[in-house]
């Protein structure tokens, strides 16, 4: 199976001269459809840099990023937003929802941004469908401050699914919720891989989430270790 996203010899250096920091070096990584890939490592190890490069939010200093077999790093900066919109959805530790908008409006906004030509009524329908799929049918018209942490993250996942991306990238998506809710969120993300064939890449410190991972990648001092098989792949989560 061909990878959806692939890193080849990717390195990232911040700054220059004596102050330069090599955040990532010579990283090779492939992300496949239908898998949950966990990225683990201590703080400052380069996990977030790796995730940002995977999501085309950051250009590597060396190496290439391939999306659907095409070298995205060779493309001009202005063409990257469209590729991100088509291929990636993002979920964040702090949810990053617009406080002034209801759950439905937050999701519809992202859907509209990813499909600028779509009719407003169609994007609303799509947002309703996504919120229903993440179990928030009854909370659509609530604003973020009226939702629990888990519900907010579900809204964020529904928003990430707007535009039907092939890869969901999560940066510590369970860090701001309690452990029971965290497992519920991972169940949801795991389900996306199994039921919809999407790839889910999650950066986390939490070892309990390994049960949902098909593969686990360790990052330390900017070096990406070879992925090992996760518990899910071994039949731990279903």
């Amino acid at each position: 199976m061909d990878p959806i996203v692939e890193l080849r010899g990717v390195g990232k250096r911040y700054g220059a001269g004596d102050n330069a920091v090599q955040a990532l070096q010579d990283a090779d990584l492939s992300v496949f459809a239908g898998e949950v890939l966990l990225i683990q490592g201590p703080s400052g190890s380069g996990k977030t840099t790796l995730l940002s490069i995977l999501g085309l939010l950051l250009r590597p200093t060396t190496g290439d990023v391939l999306v659907d077999g095409r070298v995205a790093t060779a493309l001009p900066e202005k063409s990257l937003p469209a590729i991100r919109a088509r291929h990636f959805g993002f979920v964040f530790q702090g949810f990053n929802l617009f406080a002034a908008l209801t759950a439905l409006e937050n999701v519809a906004l992202a859907t509209q941004l990813k499909n600028p030509g779509a009719k407003a009524s169609d994007t609303k329908d799509e947002a309703r469908r996504l919120l229903t799929a993440v179990g928030l049918k009854d909370r659509m018209h609530h604003r973020p401050d009226e939702l629990s942490g888990g519900q907010k993250q579900r809204v964020a996942i529904a928003r990430a699914l707007g535009g039907d991306p092939t890869v969901i990238l999560g940066d510590e998506p369970t860090a701001a919720v309690d452990s029971k809710t965290a497992l519920g969120i991972m169940e949801l993300l795991h389900g996306l891989t199994r039921e919809q064939g999407r790839a889910v890449v999650v950066v986390t410190h939490d070892p309990r989430l390994e049960r949902y991972a098909d593969r686990v990648v360790a990052v330390e001092d900017g070096r990406v270790a070879s992925p090992r098989t996760g518990v899910a792949m071994a039949g731990g989560a279903s």
């Binding site: 939010l57 590729i83 959805g89 406080a99 941004l113």
Partner: protein, 373 residues
């Protein structure tokens, strides 16, 4: 994007109201200052603008319409016999002393007209018969000057520079820039009121004969010694320019109007920038998800435009109320469609400029920053 902009603004109502108040004060100051300025300027040239003359002949180098050096009456005859002149009329415009009933004196601008004057007559006559100002003591005054002149009705009598005067007609809305009331009367009485000699006048109003180019006639009249000839638009412009530019009045009004714009710029800019900082992670998220910069810039611009629209409505309403109040104080605030449209455009420009810092912030925003912290 429009909905997002509106909801972000309305989400924090206090900040939105502060922004709207800032724009309102700005709009109010700009409208009232420009309106007052235009009102004063309209007064400064109202007599010229309401005259039917093609050309005005004045003492050479006359800069101030209200305070012009007198002309020798022989000039009038030289003007009248100049080829191309269809009609010439004498006018006196000089100051006199109006004796108040309470004992004091009030400076007045006496306008003396020929008995058969056709090129200029008092306009907006609302009571009495203006033709009766040809009577020896007949004067026409503006109703709005009654409090200043301590008069109350047609028929009231007073003294001007020692000679009796009697109101024979009233006008409505004729005021001078100098705030000294205009007193219209016949040219002979005007000479007494202003202590001019019997052979002195102030202006000659000229009507060009059909087919004669005004510029040509102006050139001919300009050859008469010791006089200057102006076409009406230029003379009107000079009358306004004197007060506006030579006295600093225009700069004063302009500076106050600009203060209003600066207040609006700072208040709206600060509110928008704070709002942008508060939502910077959300904007970053949109960029990460693939939103183009243009889409996010639109959200900020829409917020600026919503603030501008509300500020225009509130500030415009405040200016209308102020106009009504100032009218009672004998001050006219000109809020013409051109002034309103110009102020609306200025407000939109001001609010758009106020959003530039916010726009620069989101344009520089690195989408990868959403993963930090």
């Amino acid at each position: 994007m429009w909905t997002l902009a509106r909801k972000i603004l309305l989400h924090d109502r206090v900040k939105f109201l502060v922004a709207a108040a800032g724009v309102s004060v700005s709009v109010f100051l700009v409208l009232v200052q420009i309106g007052l300025y235009l009102g004063f300027m309209r007064n400064a040239s109202s007599i010229i603008d309401h005259a039917g003359a093609d050309l005005w002949v004045a003492s050479a180098g006359t800069e101030n319409f209200d305070i012009a050096a007198p002309l020798d009456e022989r000039t009038y005859y030289r003007v009248a016999e100049t080829p191309g002149v269809s009609r010439a009329e004498r006018m006196i415009l000089a100051f006199g002393q109006f004796k108040m009933q309470s004992g004091g004196a009030q400076g007045v601008e006496v306008v003396g007209l020929e008995r058969q004057a056709r090129l200029f007559r008092p306009w907006n006559v609302v009571e009495g018969d203006a033709r009766r100002m040809s009577e020896i003591d007949g004067i026409v005054v503006d109703r709005s000057e009654f409090p200043k002149l301590e008069m109350s009705a047609v028929g009231d009598q007073r003294e001007i520079t020692g000679m009796r005067s009697r109101i024979v007609a009233l006008t409505q809305g004729i005021r001078s820039f100098t705030t000294s009331p205009y007193i219209f009367t016949n040219i002979h009485t005007a000479r007494v009121y202003t202590r001019l000699r019997p052979d002195q006048i102030t202006y000659v109003l000229v009507q060009a004969a059909p087919g004669v180019a005004i510029s040509t006639l102006r050139e001919r009249l300009g050859r008469i010694p010791y006089v200057s000839a102006y076409d009406t638009p230029e003379f009107s412009r000079r009358a306004r320019a004197y007060w506006s530019e030579r006295t600093g009045v225009g700069v004063g009004f302009f500076m106050t109007a600009m203060m209003g714009v600066i207040v609006g710029l700072v208040v709206v800019g600060q509110i928008l920038y704070n709002g942008t900082l508060e939502h910077i992670r959300e904007y970053g998220t949109l960029k990460a998800m693939g939103a183009e910069n243009a889409a996010i810039v639109r959200v900020i611009l829409y917020q600026a435009l919503i603030s501008a629209a509300l500020g225009l409505v509130l500030g415009g309403a405040m200016a209308m109320l102020a106009r009504a109040g100032l009218r009672a104080a004998n001050l006219s605030v000109v809020l013409s469609p051109a002034v309103l449209i110009s102020t609306a455009l200025l407000t939109v420009l001001m609010c758009s400029m106020a959003s530039l810092l916010s726009i620069a912030k989101v344009l520089r925003l690195d989408p990868a920053s959403v993963f930090k912290g």
